[in-house]
Structure formats: C-alpha cells, structure tokens
Amino acid sequence: MLLIPAIDLKDGKCVRLKQGRMEDDTVFSDDPVAVASHWVERGARRLHLVDLNGAFAGEPVNGDIVKAIAKAHPDLPIQIGGGIRSPEIIQAYLDAGVQWVIIGTKAVNEPPFVKEMCQQFPGHIIVGLDAKDGKVATDGWANVTDVDVIDLAKQFENDGVSAIVYTDISRDGMLQGVNVDATVRLAQSMSIPVIASGGITNLDDVRHLCAVADQGISGAITGRAIYENTLDFGEGQALSDELTSA
C-alpha cells in the first residue's frame, strides 16, 4: 500500500486547511517543489496535489507549480485534484506531466461529465468522494445526503474511473484516526482500487489500513500528520512495504 503525501497548494504555497475551511489555513512552506522533493527523498512513490485556489475558483490557479513539480520528478506518478471541471483543464494537467486528475465536486454536481472524461482520457480519471458515516456529502448546505457512498462509487466504476479517493469528512485534517470499516466496505464492493484519505495520524493507522489493504485499498493519502510529525513518512512507507506487497 502506498502512502501518498498530500501537497495542498494555495497562492503558490504549501498549506493545510482545517476541515476544508479556506480561511483556516496553516502555511507549511513557500516552496512546494522543495516539499515534493523532500517527500520523494523520504520514499514517496506517488504524490497527491490539491489546487485549493482551483477548487474554489473552478479553474487552475497553481498550474505553473504543478508543472514544476512534475518536471522535477518526471518518473513520479502524480495525481491532482481541485477545480477539475473541463476537458481543457484535464488536458493541460496531463500535458504538464500529471498522470491522474481527481474529479470531485463536478462528479456529484454533473455525473455525466465523469463518463465523458473517462472516454476522452481513459486511465487518467479518478473520482473523489466525500462521505460522513458512509453517506455522500456534497458542498451544498443540506450537505450530507441519504445516498450510500457505495452505490455512487459503483456508478463511477461503471463509467470507467481508475480509482476512488474516499474521504471521511468527519476526520479529514482532524487527526482522529482512519474510518477503516467504511473504507474497507467500499473497497470490497468494487473491483477498482480505493485510496483512503483523511484521518491518518500515526503508525497505528498505517498498520490498521495495511491489515485490510488486500481488500482493495491501494493507497492512503496523508497530509497534516506528516507535516506535524505525528507520523514519520519514511517509517510509515517502510512499515507499509513490510506489511503489504504493493
């Protein structure tokens, strides 16, 4: 199982948000390219980038930095989310050297977009789903629906997405541990991999996820924990490599 360091980009800097609130940010570095290199040196084999400005503005804002990171690490698989709302944006990221784009808000707001993008960019589309207690959350204000995340994920699997990034919104950025049960249930119900996001705090969380990784959890995105040093990234990836084959 891959541990995937998250680099959240805002105004050209590497930041973390608390529970997704744009105004509640902590700047970790002014040099995201150096941050990317740091994680690669520590053993990262994939990077998770988020264009936070793009997520709010609906179009890429940190494109040059993404390009610079990809250029500095040409063989490193990179996935990016935030503001993925048109084929032009996807094409630009793929041209910049990104391997997968993660469609979030737009997947829920306009489901046919996912299928169209899967046809146009096969093998490059991931969908990111947020859920609370297994029910899909949207960015609206009646914001947790009655929709089971498994039902929705299956629809996107049929559309041809490469993976699902599953975020438990009650835990993201709050250092509360991973919702392992919900993640496993989702992985077991599909044949495409699930990438867990949110809640990785320490080596125990890595151990818990690794114990069930063979059910279809290919990776785990980690952010705050590796920036606040409750988890040593190198140790975490080494442990994961020891406990799982992938």
Binding site: T138, G140, W141, A142, N143, V144, T145, D146, D148
Partner: protein, 213 residues
C-alpha cells in the same frame, strides 16, 4: 424588528453556505444557524435541512429536543421549509434501516429507489443524481416566478411516495413518479437541493422568505 429565520444545525455539517445563500435572497431578515430548540421556537420561520441516514437524523433530533421544537413551530403556523432528508424526516415512516418512525407531519412513506422497477421493467439506477424536471402539482406562492417543469438538482437514494394528491406540490419522474415537493398549510418541503439549483433554487428560497401562509 427584523424577522428571524432559523436554519437548523445538527452540529455535524458545514452550514456556511446556508447562511450565504439565504442572505443573498434575504430582504432584511436575520439568518441564524442554530441547534438550540429555544432559538428555533423563537424564530419567525425555519429552514430544516436533513443530514445523512434518516435513522441518525431522527435520533439527533430526538436527543436534542429539536423534533418537538420543529413540531411546535409547525403548530404555531410559522413557515417551515424542509430540504432533502429534512423533507423525508417530516413523513410518517421511512423504510431505511428496516423501518424508522419519522416526525409524521405528512402521511407519506420514504421508499428506497433501488427496490423499485422502472417503467421498462429494469432496476432503477441508484442514486438519482443530477438535474431533473419538477412538474408543479398546484399553483403555490413557493412556485412564484418558477416555470412549470423547471429543472432542479437532486441527489438522493430514497424518495417520498404515498402522499395525498393535495399535498403533492411537485412531482418528478425517475423511473417512477415521486413527490419532489410536498406541502400542507404552513409547511413546504422539497426533495431537491435549492441551494445547488442555480437561479430557480434561489427564487424558491426567496419565495420562502416572503411566504405568508
């Protein structure tokens, strides 16, 4: 003194955009996001979104006493707007989680789409997600300025059926016909998400703030 509009907050979700969308269409009303039953009772009108699984939603309402506050507000004749799971919570019963007793303001049932057959006999794709037309079942102040068969944004796996015809304010077709909007006296409830339904959704919210049932 300006009118107070309470948006019910379960303390679980992010309701920032609730305030924003309502403030955008408000004309002098004060928007309060609250989980306090006393504040809900004191409000002049109430917006009631739901959250997640109906069993959890109802459980939180009962624990906090918000269930009784909502029923009191309805009994007092103040305008109440239920949204999505909030609409479902106003029904008699949901079949989710092997059956959950709801608030019983309407005599309708909440049914899972997946067990229903479409007109062509196939199993319905769950969830029902995206834009769909709402056929207005009646003239109503909440539909002012909104054309019949306007599209609204839906995302749900359960739907309301079994309402009396005079309570169905709007219908939607998704393999079967279900209640997209329900009304009874001072209560209006919608299965779609007005806050994600562009101009038509904002018009509906604006209509709610003006509604004098």
């Amino acid at each position: 003194m300006s009118e107070v509009v309470a948006v019910i907050d379960y303390g679980m979700g992010n309701l920032h955009s609730a305030g924003k969308a309502l403030e955008k269409v408000a004309s002098g009303q004060q928007i309060v996001i609250t989980g306090d039953p006393a504040q809900v009772r004191a409000a002049d009108r109430v917006v009631f979104p739901g959250v997640g699984a109906i069993r959890d939603c109802i459980a939180v309402l009962r624990e906090t006493g918000l269930d009784q506050a909502i029923l009191d507000v309805i009994a007092a004749g103040k305008p109440v707007l239920g949204i999505c799971v909030g609409m479902q919570a106003l029904m008699a019963r949901s079949e989710e989680n092997n059956g959950v007793e709801c608030l019983g303001v309407f005599d309708g049932q909440v049914t899972f789409f997946g067990e229903l057959q479409s007109d062509t006999g196939g199993r319905l794709k769950v969830p029902h997600m995206g834009w769909n037309q709402v056929q207005q079942g009646m003239a109503h102040p909440m539909w002012a300025g909104i054309a019949d068969n306007t599209r609204f944004y839906f995302v749900h796996s359960y739907c309301v059926t079994g309402l009396a015809d005079e309570e169905v304010a709007g219908r939607c077709e998704y393999g079967l016909s279900f209640a997209a909007a329900a009304t009874r006296k001072n209560v209006f409830a919608v299965q779609f998400h007005p806050e994600k339904s562009a101009d038509a959704g904002l018009t509906l919210l604006e209509n709610f703030l003006r509604w004098r049932p």
